[in-house]
Amino acid sequence: MANLLANIFGSSPVMPLEKHVDIAYRCTRELVGFLEAAVAGEWEEAQRIRDTIEELEHEADDLKKEIRLHLPKSLFMPVPREDLLELLLVQDKMANRAKDVSGLILGRKMTIPPEIAEKFLQFVRRCVDAAKQARKSVRELDELFTAGFRGAEVSVVSSMIEELDRIETDTDDLQAQLRAALYAVESNLQPVNVMFLYRVIELTGEIADMAERVGRRLELLLSH
């Protein structure tokens, strides 16, 4: 039945965006277990976790497409539609990177040198922390919409983004230390493997970079 009142409302992107960031975070979180398995050389377990990561990445992808589909240009929203779509895109990239990292490690059955294993795990955990803080910030979207992107709620979110930035800086430091540790032992390893280890470190770091970009996108929304 056509009803004018019911037809005013487009479908709100807020809850779907919060759900999307949750899936993206859970996808990155799996990397910790995956890496532990990889370090221990338990490739069956690693394969199992990799399947979960892939599943979550697909789920995030599907939701991303759905959200885009329901955001036609005729919608009027308190914040620009483009900014929300950009936010969605960087959220999605967190999940993508988790998939890339796990795919590369599993595909090459890469052995992580024991000298850097502990540092590597520490680095991954911190990157996942960044994704978690990104999730926490995005989960304030509904509150931001309620408050109309003004006033006290804005400071609540701002301080969450500051914390996110701090975590991202941590990951940068950890990444530098990890590279240095790898550099110290690389002459004992196969050159091709070393190349790919650097690549994996870089990709893992991008998870935190994407999380930070989620914060930047949110900040843009706050300034409207």
Partner: protein
């Protein structure tokens, strides 16, 4: 005499049918806002609607009814042929009802008000003569169709902006909500009661002086605000659902306010829309009882009561499903938003009712919701709605007129004069 009884009987049946249709469809829009925001359950909404629609129809429905009954057609022109007015009004009721049935079958959004006004203008202009229509009055009515959504939108914008500044952007929105919501409750109750007392009550034989009207309205509004204030202060924060700013609990505080604005909305709707069903009936009754077209005969209260009953039956039989359906689709309208829209729409509608202008409740409410949206209160608004409203005007008025003309000639040929 027998012919007259037939006319009254027919008009009563058509009128109740129209009232049923209004109760089944239009009321749902007025109440769905409160159900969608979970301020009321469907059962509560139906009870609120039944009581306040009825009260609105009987206490404040007189002015619009008299516009429909004798404001659009120049009845002084028809003194020699009172039966033409009777046929015309019967035809208008049938036309509007038929058109509403067809349109809702096809899923087109239509307005009862526009159908009935179109129908009356149609039968008068074609069946009697172009000069038989009070074109000035019709012009005013059409203008009010444009003005009412705009006014409601503007008021809603102001109300919601005040909510943002006073409550939502503050450090402690919950404390602020508990402080200001009773004030909003007072204003909601005051506006509706005052307009009703000033403009409507004379039709049920109550006439108060202006000073007394203000006093009575203040007293009633204070009473409502105190009860609301007590309910508001009992609300405790829910740790599980709340984040730092307690917006979940803040919305529950606004939920109390929304119960009041839901009553106001039902009242306003009853006061304006009952006329669509019983205005023509009142005209038929007046002519048939006196045999004259005279505009002096008072509006019998039983006619208003009949309209009120029809609306309540429509609501109870079919309207509940529509409320549920629409309610599910408008969950973005949380109580802090929904109350602003309802209060703005109800105020606009009650003022229109007091002035005797038949307007569309739904369009006014849509205007109010857009107003909240313009104040950046709604997550996603589909702006194509504005085009749909214009389309519904362009189609409904001529369609109502066309059906009325056809039915007018059929009735004229079939019924005894």
């Amino acid at each position: 005499m027998e012919a007259q009884l037939v006319y009254i009987g027919l008009a009563a049946v058509f009128g109740i049918f129209m009232a049923w249709g209004i109760g089944a469809n239009d009321v749902a829009n007025a109440m769905a806002t409160s159900v969608g925001s979970k301020a009321l359950t469907i059962k509560q909404a139906i009870m609120v609607a039944a009581v306040f629609e009825f009260a609105g129809a009987v206490l404040a429905g007189g002015e619009v009814t008299s516009t429909i009954r004798q404001g659009i057609v120049d009845i002084d022109d028809m003194e020699g042929t009172p039966e033409l007015l009777v046929f015309g009004m019967l035809a208008s009721l049938l036309a509007a009802a038929t058109w509403l049935l067809i349109a809702s079958r096809k899923g087109w959004p239509v307005s009862t008000t526009h159908s009935i006004v179109g129908a009356i203008v149609g039968f008068a202009a074609v069946g009697i003569g172009v000069e038989a229509v009070h074109w000035n009055k019709v012009g005013t009515i059409v203008l009010s169709w444009v003005i009412s959504p705009l006014t409601a939108g503007f008021i809603a914008y102001l109300i919601f902006t005040s909510v943002q500044i006073l409550i939502l952007r503050q450090e402690d929105p919950l404390a602020k909500a508990k402080r200001y919501v009773p004030v909003y409750i007072f204003f909601a109750a005051f506006t509706i009661t005052l307009v009703t007392i000033l403009k409507g009550l004379s039709h049920v034989g109550l006439d108060l002086s202006t000073a007394n009207s203000y006093l009575l309205a203040t007293a009633i509004a204070l009473g409502v605000a105190v009860v609301g204030g007590i309910a508001v202060h009992r609300i405790q924060p829910m740790r599980k659902r709340d984040k730092k700013q307690h917006f979940y609990t803040v919305e529950r505080v606004f939920g109390v306010l929304m119960i009041v604005t839901a009553c106001a909305m039902a009242f306003a709707h009853g006061s304006n829309d009952v006329a669509n069903a019983i205005g023509p009936l009142a005209a038929v009754v007046a002519v048939s009882q006196s045999g004259l077209v005279g505009s002096q005969s008072p509006l019998p209260v039983w006619v208003l009561v009949l309209g009120g009953i029809g609306i309540v039956i429509g609501l109870a039989t079919y309207g509940r499903h529509v409320i549920a359906t629409v309610g599910q689709k408008i969950t973005q309208l949380t109580p802090s938003r929904g109350f602003a829209a309802e209060l703005a729409a109800a105020t606009t509608i009650v003022i229109a009712s007091g002035t005797g202008l038949p307007i569309s409740t739904t369009h006014t409410l849509v205007g109010a919701v857009l107003g909240v949206g313009m104040a950046r209160g709604i997550e996603a608004i589909d702006l194509r709605i504005v085009g749909r409203i214009f389309a519904s005007w362009l189609i409904t008025v001529p369609a109502g007129a066309l059906f009325a003309i056809v039915f007018f000639y059929i009735l004229k040929a079939v019924l005894p004069s």
